[in-house]
């Protein structure tokens, strides 16, 4: 197992628990912290003992986005000769992080323990399922800095909230609460108890890994696709899964009224 400086990683009950650990800066992420999360997700995907992944934050915040003390994003530090390439920060740091979560074959659950801001929102909503503490605030802080939303947030929010509410959210920078996020379908469950995300992970761990990763891929593809295109992908997935040992097991368990024991084959 790799050693991490900006997060903690542990495996228990077939779940990899990744905890962003920079509470002193409300879990804002510098370049190395982002890369560590990517590595941790890769590690969890490789580990045969892990079936699902929980991503959470230490302290009062889940993640507050870009660490603005990172020299690479500062305009006046002299480090960048008076210019700054935030596009590069996205291409080489944030987008790979968001894509690592989205492309993870194992389901990633966000256990949102506290405030999400800026690209921290993108990290949360890139996860496949989201459990949040009540009252948590989600803030698109970009417009107040003179910037625009990034790391996939325009895609996810506009699909969930529609055009006008998304405009309001990102232009005025007024936070959405976890309760409002849940009402918009952006959060699965609100619970005071942080262990809820681990319970959800345990439930997911009982599923066939082939099935859950195919479900994830096809639902994500459906958001970008036509009805006919979605049906085509469903056909590919079902033909593939229909030949798996897990389907055999699932069918036999169903017919004999017992719990299936899926192996991922």
């Amino acid at each position: 197992m790799g050693s991490f400086k900006f997060l903690t990683y542990k495996e228990e009950n077939r779940t990899a628990l990744i905890t962003i650990n920079r509470p002193e800066v409300y879990n804002a992420l510098n370049a190395d912290a982002k890369m560590e999360i990517v590595q941790a997700i890769r590690e969890a995907n490789k580990s045969p003992d892990v079936r699902s992944i929980v991503l959470t934050g230490e302290g009062k915040a889940f993640c507050t986005g870009q660490d603005l003390n990172d020299r690479s994003v500062q305009v006046n530090s002299g480090a960048n000769n008076g210019g700054v390439d935030l596009g590069n920060t996205l291409q080489t740091e944030w987008n790979p992080l968001v894509n690592a979560i989205r492309e993870s074959n194992k389901i990633v659950i966000a256990a949102v323990n506290g405030v999400c801001a800026g690209a921290g929102i993108s990290v949360a909503i890139a996860c496949d399922m989201i459990v949040s503490k009540p009252g948590v605030k989600f803030m698109g802080a970009f417009s107040k800095l003179g910037l625009a939303p990034d790391a996939g947030s325009t895609y996810i929010f506009s699909r969930a909230l529609g055009y006008h509410k998304t405009m309001e959210f990102f232009l005025l920078g007024k936070p959405l609460t976890a309760e409002e996020m849940e009402a918009a379908g952006l959060i699965n469950k609100i619970d005071e108890d942080a262990a809820q995300a681990m319970l959800l992970a345990l439930e997911l761990a009982k599923l066939s890994p082939l099935s859950s990763s195919m479900i994830k891929k096809n639902i994500k593809a459906a958001l970008d696709s036509s009805f006919a295109g979605s049906m085509e992908r469903e056909t590919y997935a079902q033909r593939f899964l229909g030949n798996s040992a897990d389907y055999k097991e699932g069918l036999s368990a169903f017919l004999s009224k017992r719990e299936p024991n899926f192996t991922g084959n």
Binding site: E103, M214, K217, R233, Y236, A237, R239, F240, N243
Partner: protein, 259 residues
């Protein structure tokens, strides 16, 4: 054969042959030896009357990550001429049966060119394509400036060839480089389904059709139309054409014998 594997993976269907590039430790870098084995294998499959469609694939991580750079670092132009490494590539063009590239993972440089030298490409959704030669101070040498331009158009080809940057499967699909994108796990299954469909068509007509489509890249429209028409007439010399049309009239499935 050390560098490639030949399989008939699907319920022992002998009409479909799967050729697998097999140098996983070097992401299937296309060494001279590998290319020679590939051409030998393809040539013998082309002659084998049982085989009707050939699938060419790599593994989950890479279709092929390019030429074997280790073989080229210190080469002089004369070394390259004497080596005549593209002779084997030219021979791939002589295969008359349909060759389908099934691409998962990286198809870079020579890997992208090899995929493009097949008749069509099916990609898993994690496939990545690029012509990265420019990044190491050279340019594509096996069709990367020619086949790519014909497939996706000048502007996009220029962007790829001048930057060397990768495009993903979805983009490759939208740009017309690949025929279909499927979930990565299902790639071989779905490529086989397509191959099987082609094996159910009249084999002689399939070869004449492939030849005619490929000619469209070599000829003026007028010459291409003339070529097509001759191949069209030629299909009428086959028993399979008689069977196909008879079966259609009789509202039954045709039984093709390949003659």
């Amino acid at each position: 054969m050390e560098n490639i594997l030949l399989e008939h993976p699907y319920r022992n269907n002998q009409h479909v042959a799967l050729v697998r590039l097999n140098r996983p430790k070097v992401l299937n870098a296309l060494s001279t030896d590998l290319m020679q084995e590939l051409v030998d294998c393809m040539t013998s499959l082309d002659k084998n009357p049982e085989v009707r469609v050939i699938i060419l694939t790599g593994n989950e991580r890479a279709f092929a990550a390019g030429a074997d750079i280790a073989q080229m670092v210190t080469a002089s132009p004369v070394d390259q001429i004497n080596d005549n490494r593209f002779r084997t590539w030219e021979m791939l063009k002589l295969i008359t049966k349909p060759v389908i590239a099934a691409v998962n993972g990286f198809a870079l440089g020579g890997g992208c060119e090899l995929a493009m030298s097949c008749d069509l490409i099916i990609a898993g959704d994690d496939a990545k394509f690029s012509q990265p030669e420019i990044k190491i101070g050279t340019i594509p040498g096996a069709g990367g400036t020619q086949r790519l331009t014909r497939a996706i158009g000048k502007s996009k080809a220029m962007m790829m060839v001048l930057t060397g940057d990768m495009i993903d499967a979805r983009t490759a699909y939208e740009w017309g480089l690949v025929a279909k994108v499927v979930p990565a796990e299902t790639l071989l299954q779905e490529t086989f389904e397509l191959a099987k469909t082609i094996t159910e068509r009249a084999p002689v007509a399939v070869r004449l059709a492939k030849e005619a489509v490929n000619k469209s890249f070599e000829m003026t429209l007028k010459d291409g139309m003339d070529f097509e028409r001759r191949n069209f007439y030629l299909t009428f010399s086959s028993a399979d054409q008689k069977e196909g049309m008879k079966a259609f009239m009789e509202k039954r499935s045709p039984e093709y014998k390949g003659n």
